[in-house]
């Protein structure tokens, strides 16, 4: 699994890299998509291609093509992680 869009509902990963220009990347980070932080896919929204992601402190819906440009890496199993 390399990009956020492949994250199945119920699974968690770690944000790795945002493949956006700086203004878009800043806003994504302000919303909580910070490299190194964890992100889980909560559910897909009916009708269409939105998915709801749970971050530390926010619940954000992204379209497929946005989630395709966020690289993630698997969560390293740590105590309690």
């Amino acid at each position: 699994m390399k990009i956020l869009v492949d994250l199945e509902p119920g699974r968690t990963a770690v944000v790795d890299e945002l493949l956006f220009d700086s203004a878009d990347a800043v806003r994504l980070m302000e919303l909580g998509f910070i490299p190194g932080s964890s992100v889980s896919c909560q559910r897909r929204v009916p009708f269409g291609d939105l998915a709801v992601y749970q971050l530390d402190g926010a619940q954000i819906a992204l379209r497929r093509e946005t989630a395709e440009r966020i690289r993630v890496r698997p969560q390293v199993a740590r105590g309690g992680g």
């Binding site: 994504l28 909580g32 009708f47 709801v52 402190g57 926010a58 819906a61 946005t66």
Partner: protein
């Protein structure tokens, strides 16, 4: 310096101290503001631009008064939208804004790590800051704790815990405003030049001060699994929409009857107690008949806004936006256009200004082009009048949906569908562009508070009645004079022979293909100012024709227009850009006459063609 007491800043100033309230969206900032100021608030524009701002006055026990400014929500200090730019500009004291003497930063205490990130940036503005950790009730209920003193020592600014919803902890806010809240010793904050660094700092503060985050809300998950369920979600969405429209008719009717009989009896009393004179005619026929005909619709508008308020404050609207995203996408608009279009249901003007949140210039043009096609609340009185006069009050889906509510709903859907189709045409031709990333924040679910809802309705009533008292009153008075001259043998003319009548008859050939007569023709001219003016105009015209103080406007219309003409008139109002304020705002927002002229022409053509077709079909 940053921790100095607020009243040391401008102790000699005689004008009230300005204090800005800022924070991220959905942290209960408005509830906090409402709790502090209650009814002592007004909506005004920021100097030089037209983004609305809310200012409240607060009298302190010391006798001093403070102006509180409720800033738009900011996600960070890197503004992307016009709203956020305004908030940051006010904090900086840039533009024509006066720099606030102090800032109250409202944070959501249930989500402290993400929220605390904003503190260093706000402290950098160099004025006293009070950090308010809101939603203390929610935090405690879900087993979280926060040590405000410890955080206060870490950030070097006073930190307090409040529940704006319940009104707890608010004394400390007044103490801060009076300058009697002892600030902690100043702290040198690290230089944070990136968002990950800010977030890292926030994390360390949260850890060092022993913050216990609350248990995740199980309700939120459960509600989402219902509202965003593949089958139940869209059905609930549909059910909610139907319920809103049904209640516009069922719930509002007794209230409207009340208002109507009040206006009729006061008009009758006025008519009986005044001697016959021109003034009496103006008051009874002109003003009571005209303005009164519009004021009757206040209950319906309030019920619509009550529902919108509940949907918005509870957090459901963001879920509805998520479900509706697909249709926005299908017409080539970016998701953020959805929010301006939603506010267009209230009025196209704030919607056109809110289109500034759309960063892509071409998307922004498309959004403001289609905004006046969505059904604004000024159309509601026109629709309601014509529907009540011409559509029978019959059930359609048993008790769930009546025929009248269905027609009203149909008109809303029609406006939205044509707006989308127009967007699609524009976006696939002259305004083609690549889409921007779409990020929709889903706020936590919350109970709407009676306080916030009633303030919202009060606001709406003020706006509506102000329009009734200005634009509608003025056009009504002018119309009444035009309808009262020239005198024939010392007597006021029959309305058909008056100046207004001749104007109406001059345009009659233009409106005849839609099955409309010269009286409606006059209304189409006066309502160029604002749509609901036509209701007042028809009220005046039919009122002057009949001898009654309160014209039974619906009956008069029924006897004067055919069913097909009524449908044609509905179509005309669904599409024509009968609103000079909208034309003016589009001109200003696009910086020229090209777009408003195009828009006006397009909408007029649409109105005329569909009106003509409707009259042909329905006879």
């Amino acid at each position: 310096m940053m921790a100095a007491a607020p009243n040391s800043a401008a102790a000699t100033a005689s004008r009230p101290k300005a204090v800005a309230i800022c924070g991220a969206p959905n942290v209960g900032k408005s509830t906090f503001f409402n709790r502090l100021t209650g009814l002592h608030q007004k909506v005004a524009n920021y100097p030089g631009i037209t983004v609305e701002r809310r200012i409240g006055t607060l009298a302190l026990p010391s006798g001093e008064t403070v102006d509180l400014i409720d800033l738009p929500g900011i996600v960070g200090l890197h503004p992307r939208s016009e709203d956020e730019r305004v908030a940051v500009e006010v904090l900086e004291g840039g533009g024509q804004n006066r720099k606030p003497e102090a800032v109250i930063l409202v944070l959501d205490s249930t989500n402290l790590e993400a929220q605390l990130r904003l503190v260093p940036g706000i402290l950098k503005f160099g004025v006293p800051v009070l950090v308010v950790l809101n939603m203390a009730d929610d935090l405690a209920a879900r087993g979280g704790t926060v040590d405000t003193d410890a955080i206060s020592r870490q950030v070097g600014a006073p930190v307090i815990e409040v529940s704006a919803r319940l009104g707890t902890g608010m004394e400390s806010v007044r103490e801060f405003l009076e300058g009697s809240l002892a600030p902690p010793p100043p702290v040198q904050l690290p230089v944070l030049n990136s968002i990950p660094a800010e977030r890292g700092w926030a994390r360390s503060v949260v850890r060092q001060t022993g913050y216990h985050p609350p248990e995740p809300s199980r309700w939120g998950r459960r509600l989402d699994s219902v509202f965003l369920h593949p089958v139940a979600g869209p059905l609930i969405f549909l059910g909610v929409v139907i319920a809103v429209f049904q209640s516009i008719f069922t719930l509002a009717v007794p209230l409207m009857d009340g208002v109507e009989s009040l206006i009729a009896s006061s008009g009758g009393w006025l008519g009986a107690s005044l001697p016959d004179s021109m003034l009496k005619g103006l008051l009874v026929d002109g003003i009571w008949g005209g303005v009164g005909a519009v004021v009757v619709f206040l209950p319906q508008i309030l019920i619509l806004f009550l529902f919108i308020g509940i949907l918005e404050d509870s957090g459901y609207l963001a879920r509805a936006a998520a479900i509706a995203d697909r249709s926005m996408r299908a017409v080539g608009l970016e998701g953020r256009s959805f929010i301006p279009l939603l506010s267009a249901y209230a009025c196209a003007i704030p919607a056109i200004m809110a289109a500034r949140t759309v960063e892509n210039q071409r998307d922004r043009l498309a959004t403001l082009f289609i905004a006046p096609l969505t059904t604004c609340s000024a159309r509601l009185p026109v629709y309601a009048l014509l529907i009540a006069a011409f559509i029978p009050d019959e059930p359609l889906l048993g008790p769930v949906l009546g025929l009248r509510a269905a027609v009203m709903l149909g008109l809303y859907v029609l406006g939205f569908a044509v707006a989308c189709a127009t967007a699609w045409v524009l976006k696939s031709t002259v305004l083609k562009s690549t889409p921007a990333p779409f990020m929709l924040q889903l706020p936590p679910y919350r109970w709407p508070t009676i306080r916030s809802l009633s303030l919202r309705l009060l606001d709406r009533s003020k706006i509506f009645l102000r329009r009734a008292g200005t634009v509608i009153l003025l056009t009504t008075v002018i119309l009444w004079f035009l309808a009262s001259v020239p005198y024939v043998d010392g007597q006021p003319p029959e309305i058909g022979d008056s100046l207004a009548g001749s104007i109406g008859k001059a345009v009659e050939p233009l409106v005849e293909p839609l099955g409309l007569n010269w009286k409606v023709g006059i209304g189409l001219i006066t309502s160029l100012a604002a749509r609901e003016v036509i209701v007042g105009t028809l009220g005046t015209i039919y009122g002057m024709e009949s001898d009654e103080a309160s014209p039974a406007l619906q009956q008069a219309l029924r006897s004067d227009l055919s069913f097909g003409s009524a449908i044609a008139l509905l179509m005309y109002f669904a599409f024509a850009m009968q609103c000079m304020s909208t034309v003016a705002i589009v001109r200003r927002e696009t910086g020229g006459w090209k777009w408003p002229i195009l828009q006006f022409g397009y909408m007029l053509a649409l109105a005329y063609v569909t009106g003509y077709a409707a009259y042909r079909i329905f006879g």
